[in-house]
Amino acid sequence: MLELQNLCMQFENAKHATLKNINLQIPEGSFTCIVGASGCGKSTLLNLIAGLTLPSSGSILLDGQPISGPGRDRVMMFQESALFPWLTVLENVCFGMKINNVPKAKQLEIAGHYLDMVHLSRFRDYRVHELSGGMKQRAALARALCMDSKILLMDEPFSALDKQTTNLLREELAQIWQQTKKTIILITHSVEEAVFFADRVLFLSEETANIAGEYVIDLPRPRHIESPEFIRYRQDILYQVRNEVEKIEHAEEMAG
């Protein structure tokens, strides 16, 4: 269980707080999506959970233990693959295990398993620059999964890919999640993506610097983005999110 308590983040020289009093509980094995416009602080929130940045105030607890820095129990995936160009695919996938002194034989076994899962076994000896964008993200996913972390943090992992590749990778990630039941927190600006993955969608608003909406997605898996239920959820959230934004704008007008 990941717990955020009164989490605040204000950057130096910033007029307003990026995040204000966030309280949140994320249960183990859940898939949580955080949506919001660009610049709303969703990446900041993820960086805080990863421990890459430290909050201005408040705390983050993982299984009751406060987070004070990055750690292998919270692996992060980025919009760019962040694969190391000086290593092969296999060496990249093994990197985290090597750092953590996993025995070589075990490394290869685990890496092989996850490379299979992301369909990259044939490309294990390729260099990063020889891979397509989608393959890079698959390799990055395999690298992250190998760490067997408690939580997988994903910062818009598909937003740099073309539509077709995105759809394919979404399907694959949804499947992998069902197999591994890993706790995933995924950030996206796409409501559709959020509804496709999430048990719970959180809407982060730039104006309040807080979570302005929370939606439980009670749809069976695998989900189909063309099913009427799916579309209803998506429209519903889009409508409410718009309402939320308008409400805040209205309040500001009244105050101003």
Binding site: A50, V75, M76, W86, I99
Partner: protein, 265 residues
């Protein structure tokens, strides 16, 4: 001006193209020399000519004089470069680690870096006398600072996402430095070393022309003392060729391998 900008680098010419071009150039040089002599623009001994340079090459090659000079100069350059790398690496890492020191010290290092290395020669002679150490000192002074600056900026300017990703996988401390930051900075470091070498090679020549130690610089000055313009020309050509050979044969080829491996070349 090429029609397209940026102009694409031209295709490499075939080896016989280069051979033909430079043979032609040498032929023109010989013609120019002979024309100048017959029109009395210059005295035959005052202007270098290919045939004379060839004669110098033959006479200097007897008793292995030229080869010995090349080897002495190269070993001196290598030793100086190695020392410069050590000093440059330590200084560069200090600049990287100690932000405050870096802020005040960097302008000074950049300033010293702009000093032509021949300006270190009088200083070196006062400290060490006209000997090996003085030359080595000049070489180190000529290249260590540029290496230090390259190490500092090369390590600083890596893509931060590599560090971020590695840290979330549990990398920190020396593992982060040696497995992520160093390999990520390697292309920058290599081009810094290459530049440091070329500064060092130039500095070596400034040092050697002043001293009487065996080496290319000394052979060059011997040509002056003998008023033998062909020997002077020959040694200059050798200095160029050795410099190019090391730059291409050692540094360029390593750099290219690293870049190709990463899909950058």
């Amino acid at each position: 001006m090429p029609k397209k900008w940026p102009a694409r680098p031209g295709k490499k010419a075939p080896w016989w193209g280069y051979l033909f071009f430079y043979m032609l150039l040498i032929g023109l040089w010989q013609l120019l020399y002979m024309l100048g002599v017959s029109l009395e623009w210059w005295k035959p001994y005052a202007f270098p000519n290919p045939a004379g340079v060839w004669q110098s090459l033959l006479s200097l090659s007897r008793d292995w004089n030229l080869l010995r000079a090349i080897l002495y100069s190269l070993s001196r350059a290598a030793l100086g470069f190695l020392l410069a790398c050590l000093i440059g690496a330590v200084l560069g890492l200090l600049l990287l680690k100690l932000q405050l020191l870096s802020r005040y010290l960097k302008p000074l290092i950049m300033g010293v870096q702009t000093l032509p290395s021949i300006c270190w020669v009088p200083f070196a002679i006062l400290w060490f006398g006209l000997n090996q150490q003085a030359i080595l000192f000049v070489v180190v002074m000529g290249s260590a600072f540029s290496i230090a600056l390259a190490v500092e900026s090369g390590m600083r300017n890596i893509d931060p996402i590599y560090v971020k990703a590695a840290r979330t996988m549990g990398a920190s401390g020396s593992k982060l430095i040696f497995r992520v930051i160093f390999p990520a900075a390697l292309p920058n470091l290599l081009s810094g070393l290459r530049q440091g070498w070329s500064f060092g090679w130039r500095a070596l020549m400034s040092g050697e022309v002043m001293s009487s130690a065996i080496g290319l610089g000394h052979t060059l000055m011997m040509g002056r003392d003998l008023a033998d313009i062909n020997q002077v020309m020959l040694v200059m050509i050798v200095i160029i060729l050795v410099g190019v050979a090391i730059d291409k044969g050692v540094f360029s080829s390593i750099e290219e391998r690293v870049l190709r491996q990463r899909g950058l070349a």
